[in-house]
């Protein structure tokens, strides 16, 4: 039997090695993939996200937990794909053109995976073509990240490019604000990685 409480605790504490060990053992014991995710990893990631939004955890803790989560997911990902698990929806995440910062973007990607979404990570320096490819691959939300005041304006170009299409654009990153999101007509803004999950939840519920 997999100790789901121990798995959750290891993710919350950011203990990469424990997460890997427990997940590997669960896989070796042919534990149900959905159980590992739904009873272990996802509740833990939701919990750390909640703590974060209640100001009970800050970026360092979040990053460390997310890295532990990713260590487990890396083991699980091939099996998830093979299992045909139904996800909550497909979201593409990318840092916009001209910008190479990806630590925040990676965090957003892991939190979304942790929340049960199918995430396409487009990497850094993404131009409109990259985002188009993601749409072609079925992404219904594009989450754009920017860390530089000089690359923020590219988000406006992305929003304008996809205007009138079904795909939703949400934005975030240190210099980005709700005001800016409203100004450029983005469909949503995530103040932090947990905010990104909340806005994705909301957009999928509305759809």
């Amino acid at each position: 039997m997999t100790d789901f409480a121990a798995l959750q605790a290891a993710v919350l504490k950011g203990n990469r090695n424990d997460v890997k060990d427990i997940v590997q053992q669960a896989i070796d014991n042919q534990e149900d993939i959905n159980a590992i995710l739904d009873r272990g990893m996802i509740p833990a990631m939701r919990e750390i996200g909640e703590r974060f939004s209640r100001n009970e955890a800050y970026v360092p803790e979040l990053l460390i937990a997310a890295r532990a989560m990713q260590a487990g997911l890396t083991l699980l990902e091939p099996l998830i794909a093979a299992s045909g698990r139904k996800t909550l929806g497909k979201v593409a995440v990318g840092t916009v053109k001209g910008d190479l910062h990806d630590i925040g973007k990676n965090l957003v990607a892991i939190m979304l995976k942790g929340a049960g979404y199918d995430v396409l990570d487009l990497g850094v320096n993404c131009d409109i073509g990259k985002f188009e490819e993601a749409v072609a691959q079925g992404a219904s939300i594009l989450a754009c990240s920017s860390l530089l005041t000089t690359t923020m304006p590219y988000m406006k170009e992305v929003v304008e490019h996809f205007k009138g299409r079904k795909v939703k654009i949400i934005i975030g990153g240190a210099p980005v604000t709700q005001d800016y999101a409203d100004e450029i007509g983005a469909d949503g803004y995530g103040e932090d990685a947990n905010g990104a999950v909340k806005i994705v939840d909301k957009l999928f519920q509305e759809a």
Binding site: Y58, P60, E61, L63, I64, L100, V124, N125
Partner: protein, 478 residues
């Protein structure tokens, strides 16, 4: 006592933005966000007259951000608290700790043109005759180089505006140093500063692939750039967009031996390492937290700043006044001392649990501030460690350049994990100014400098997968 002086002025309506009117009349405001209305440092009181902000008329009297208001009536009265003005008499460094100056018969001037501060020395016959320093007047266009690049991109006029601001500040120093009779002036600065000083559009420096418009700057007559001196002006050449002449100067002065590293801790932490495979360099964007930006009670190292912190109610303040805020060296002490005392856990959370901690009646730190500091120190540490890992070699001796390094408590910097333990450290002082001084005394040093800019191989830290891992590890307090 904190300076509670308040300046009362009558303002006449004009098309010019209020901060510029005030700057012209000798009241330069603290516009560290570049007048975007985000930092809240330029608060003034509108006493009478009709004023608007965001299209709405304000009821007077009212406190408001000077950068966001406009006078509607013909005249209006305002009150500016001293604390909203650009701080003067800060700690600026014009010392360096090594080498002697080459003999040179004529008097010369050397300048370190920093993003925030400018330091200059007048040298004669191998001796420093006089030192002077001031804030860079470009500060009112934003406190970081990206903000300066963005401003310059706006239009040809805004580039001129920036260039003139730097020139005006340098001219203050030239006047103080009596520059009329000097035979040469040499200047070292980061690539953005040097590019703007030469009147060149810096916008390629802000965009991938970050190609500097010029790395080797022509020798110009100082007066051609608007400087009040007839002497020729030499500029230390730059290595790359983010490793500028200030670093070239340091590299050439220290002549880094194999196994030695130069780290300039600032908003943008630059690192040059003499690895077994040769010289490598990188820029780790640490951010301005240690300069006080983005921290509730953060301030630069000026009068009233807590400079060293030893424990609750035990601290030293610059200028021996009441504490008004805390500067980088004090914040770093705080992290080390309170972690040691068990009042901070490894994630930088306050123990027992609460959001803020009071250091003095008007000075506190919030957990969010601490999270900012952790990001800055993690950037420095992970820059060094990722670069070393890339080169598969560790630096035995690390030279620390820049003003911050001169005031920080080295043991505390190591204790919080900003700097790796087990190395020999050497506080090198203002190596940028040292290199400029060398060039001013000995203009054929140019050839050496031009050779040095070709050798370091630049490593983009984002291309090193280990960077992210080190960054996350080093966010914690050991």
């Amino acid at each position: 006592m904190p300076d509670k002086t308040i300046h009362r002025l009558t303002i006449l309506r004009s098309a010019e933005p209020l901060p510029e009117v005030l700057a012209r009349h000798g009241f330069p405001l603290d516009l560290r966000c570049g007048g975007k209305g985000t930092c809240g440092r330029c608060l003034i009181k509108l006493l009478n007259g009709r004023w608007e902000c965001d299209g709405q008329e304000l009821p007077v009297p009212i406190q408001a951000k000077a950068c966001q208001v406009r006078l509607l009536s013909d005249s209006g009265e305002i009150a500016i608290p001293e604390i909203s003005l650009q701080q003067r008499n800060g700690k600026m460094s014009s010392d360096w700790a090594f080498g002697s100056l080459p003999e040179c018969a004529e008097p010369v001037i050397a300048i370190d043109l920093g993003t925030t501060t400018i330091a200059a020395v007048k040298i004669h016959q191998g001796r420093i005759l006089k030192r002077a320093s001031c804030y860079n007047a470009q500060n009112r266009f934003g406190d970081n180089i990206i903000a300066r690049i963005s401003h310059a991109e706006g239009s040809a006029e805004s580039l001129v505006e920036l260039q003139r601001a730097a020139v005006a500040s340098i001219n203050e120093l030239l006047a103080e140093l009596e520059a009329e009779n000097v035979s040469r002036i040499a200047i070292a600065g980061n690539t953005v500063m040097s590019t703007i000083l030469h009147g060149i559009d810096p916008s390629p420096l802000g965009k991938i692939p970050f190609i500097p418009p010029l790395r080797v700057f022509p020798v110009r007559k100082a007066s051609e750039l608007g400087l009040k001196a007839e002497a020729p002006l030499y500029t230390v050449p730059a290595i790359s967009a983010y490793i500028g002449g200030d670093l070239t100067a340091g590299l050439a002065e220290l002549r880094l031996a194999p196994g030695e590293m130069l780290v300039d801790i600032g908003t943008n932490c630059e690192i040059i390492f003499h690895a077994p495979q040769g010289l490598v360099c990188a820029a780790a964007a640490a951010g301005p937290a240690f300069e006080g930006a983005g921290i509730h009670c953060g301030m630069r190292a000026v009068d009233g700043a807590i400079e060293h912190y030893f424990g609750k109610d035990k601290f030293s303040v610059i200028g021996d006044t009441d504490p008004k805020g805390i500067c980088g060296s004090g914040m770093l002490d705080f992290l080390a001392v309170e972690r040691q005392a068990g009042h901070l856990n490894e994630f930088g959370r306050l123990q027992p649990q609460r959001e803020t901690v009071a250091l003095a009646p008007e000075v506190f730190l919030h957990e969010r501030d601490i999270a900012q500091l952790l990001k800055a120190k993690a950037a420095v540490a992970s820059g060094i460690l990722a670069l070393e890992e890339h080169c598969q070699s560790q630096a035995g001796k690390i030279f620390l350049a820049g003003g911050f390094a001169q005031y920080l408590n080295l043991n505390n910097a190591i204790a919080i994990g900003m700097l790796p333990a087990g190395r020999e450290y050497c506080i090198a002082g203002n190596t940028s100014l040292a290199g400029a001084a060398h060039l001013a005394c000995q203009p054929d040093f140019t050839a050496t400098l031009e050779k040095y800019i070709e050798s370091p191989q630049e490593i983009h830290l984002n291309s090193l997968p280990a960077f992210e891992d080190h960054f996350i590890d080093n966010l914690m307090l050991s």
